[in-house]
Each structure stands twice: as structure tokens, then as C-alpha cells.
């Protein structure tokens, strides 16, 4: 066990039944070289302080539930190596821009509402019978949206976005990127149904392009790209409908 090192981790605690605002608590954690921040939090919970609350599930960058602020940056704690922060003291906080429920757990209701509002599923004007088979798609059509479909709803982009922090009505990076993903899908016909959310003032036009959402995205979805593409597509469609009002607006 000679490869153990000790790191100080200061965690933001909030126990609503005991205190009106968060406080800090520092733990000393012995860790192995291959430990991530989530391992340290689990070690604290299992061996030092069982009252610490945080979300996690898959431990492999898929479920998107262990996002937290690590030294001020939104990170998936299952992908943040402790050795990268050692020997300095670390600070772990819940994702900013969201209300804290307890310790490192945030209230994600606002995000879930916005996600639902962009209708992130395939919409058909009329479903064809199952007997007619699948909706086929070429590899090029898949390539159009595939990257945007990699979003795991971890909300790191919302924590990184100062616009969302200052203007809570902003639909936000991930929800817009997912709406855009379905708008780009050749099988989808729901563009018009999403437009009143995505192309609204609280949608793409609220974005002033800080670009930090794409920097912190652990799946390289690039929500900033989705927003800029949607701005161009929306403007083009509006111009088209002005010049050719008889055109197909589907």
C-alpha cells in the first residue's frame, strides 16, 4: 500500500434542516493513483462521513449524474483523476446555476422542463403502419446529427454558461442541442413544433456565444455549434418564407 497519497478535499455542504446556507467541510483522503474524484467521495461516504450526499450511477461517463464543480470547473467526477489535482487542496461543489437540494445534489427540475419543451423525440405528421417497415436513413443523413445525439444530460454546459446563470429563462445549451439533433434527423417532421421554443428570445437568441458549454462538454457534443447552426437555419428559413411565402414551411 506504499502507493497511497493523501489529498485534502474541501466539499461544499448544505443540510437544509440544520443550516440556512452552505458551509465548507474538509476531508483528508488517502488515494491510489487510479482514483477519480468520485472514488474519493465514495470513500468519504463509506469510511469518514456517511452523511455526505451526492449523485452517481455508472462511474463510466455514460449516465451523466455525477457532474460537479471541481476546483471551479464543471466536471464529471467519474472522469476527473485525483492525481491531476494532487498535491494541491481540492474544492468540490455542486454544479453552479442550479439550486442546491443537499450537499452536492442539485435540483434539475428547470433543466428537465426545458428538455421536455424542445420535444427531443422523433415527431411524424403521420406514422406509417409497422407493416411498411422502418424509416430508413443513409450514413450521410446519420452523420448530420449523430454528434448532437451523444448528449448525456449531465448539465455541465448549464453550469458553464453564464447566460443561463444570469437569465434563467434561457432554454440552455443541452436542450437546444437536443432539439437541433431531432430537427436534423431525416426521419423527423417536428421542426415547426420545436421552433416556438428553440427560435424564441429565450432560445437561441439569448445565447451571446461565450462558448464555454462546448469546452466543458465531456461527450464533445458542441452545443455552441448547435446553437449557431440553428441561428443560421432559422434566419434562412425566415428569409425564405418572406421571399417565397408559398413555399413548404414544414
Amino acid at each position: 500500500m506504499s502507493d497511497l497519497r493523501t489529498i485534502k478535499i474541501t466539499v461544499l455542504r448544505y443540510r437544509p434542516e440544520e443550516e440556512d446556507e452552505p458551509t465548507e467541510q474538509t476531508y483528508e483522503v488517502e488515494f491510489r493513483d487510479d482514483w477519480v474524484v468520485l472514488d474519493a467521495l465514495n470513500h468519504i461516504k463509506d469510511h469518514i462521513d456517511g452523511t455526505l450526499s451526492f449523485r452517481w450511477s455508472c462511474r463510466m461517463g455514460v449516465c451523466g449524474s455525477c457532474g460537479m464543480m471541481v476546483n471551479g470547473e464543471p466536471k464529471l467526477t467519474c472522469a476527473a483523476m485525483l492525481r491531476d489535482y494532487y498535491p494541491n487542496e481540492m474544492h468540490v461543489e455542486p454544479l453552479v446555476n442550479f439550486p442546491i437540494v443537499r450537499d452536492l445534489v442539485t435540483d434539475m427540475t428547470d433543466f428537465m422542463d426545458k428538455l421536455k419543451a424542445v420535444k427531443p423525440w422523433i415527431i411524424r405528421e403521420e406514422e406509417k403502419p409497422v407493416s411498411e417497415g422502418e424509416y430508413l436513413q443513409t450514413p450521410d443523413q446519420l452523420k448530420d446529427y449523430k454528434q448532437f445525439s451523444q448528449c448525456i444530460n449531465c448539465m455541465l454546459c448549464y453550469a458553464a454558461c453564464p447566460v443561463y446563470g444570469l437569465e434563467h429563462d434561457f432554454v440552455g445549451p443541452a436542450a437546444i442541442a437536443l432539439g437541433h439533433r431531432y430537427n436534423l434527423d431525416s426521419r423527423d417532421e417536428g421542426n415547426q413544433q420545436r421552433q416556438h421554443v428553440i427560435a424564441s428570445k429565450e432560445g437561441i437568441w439569448e445565447c451571446t456565444y461565450v462558448g464555454e458549454c462546448s469546452v466543458v462538454c465531456p461527450k464533445h457534443v458542441d452545443p455552441a455549434e448547435a446553437i449557431q447552426q440553428t441561428k443560421v437555419a432559422t434566419t434562412t428559413n425566415r428569409l425564405k418564407s418572406l421571399v417565397m411565402p408559398w413555399g413548404n414551411k414544414k
Binding site: P16, E21, I100, D140, E212, E225
Partner: protein, 144 residues
Amino acid sequence: MMLDSETTKTYTRPISKAWWLRDRGHFNRRYFMFLLRELTSVFVALYVVIFTYEIFLLTKGPDAHAAFQESLRSGPFIVFFVIALLFALYHSWTWLGLTTKMQAAGRGLVKIGTKTLPPIFIALGSYGAWIVATCVIAYLFLTL
């Protein structure tokens, strides 16, 4: 899991007015550069006000206009114009750089057949058009 906001006592952290300088105790260069870009608009707007006033003075006769032009050659105005120029260049450069965002490799908006036009062409087109337009305006300004 959805929360019952009536019964759950959550805590919302305030956002510091200096969030663009220090983010939770750590300097974030990208936040700073973003706010700098937003700040460029102030200098461009001030320049437009000065320019509009200068045009307005044309209606007051050549003497009034010439006197104001002379005052624009003073030190403080020159410093202001240099700063405004640098900010305008920074804003233009970063804004045009954004155009490549709509054209990421393999999934951009501009296509030739089924192939996406490489983003470098969008960037070259944007910056090229900007440089050409600047040269044309500069030529007209300096020769007319």
C-alpha cells in the same frame, strides 16, 4: 426525481458581479475574453456617436466642422480611437471566426451534394470578404 418546490428548502447561490474575472476563486480566461468582446460594443457605439455628431456639424457650416475635426486630433481622442480600433478589430475577428461553427467538419449547413464544405472555406470566405471590404473603403476614403 422532481422536487416539490413548496416543501423542499433549496439554496440558490448568488452570482458574483465579478464572475467574469474570477469563477469560484479560479480565473477563467474565456469568460474574461467573452466580456471583453461584449465591452467592444461600448467603444464602437461611442465612436458612432462622435461620427454622427461630426456629420451633424456639416449642417452648421465648414468652420464648425473644421474646428471639431481639429479637436479630434488631440491626445485623448487619439487614444480613444486607437482603443476603439483595437476593440473593433477584436470583435470583427472573433465574430467572423464564429462562422465556422455552422460548418463543423462533416455536419455543416453548407453542402455540395452530400458533402459538407470544409469549414476552412467558410473562414477564408468570411475573413477574405472582410479584408477586401476594408481595403475598398480605405481606398475610397484616402483617394476621394
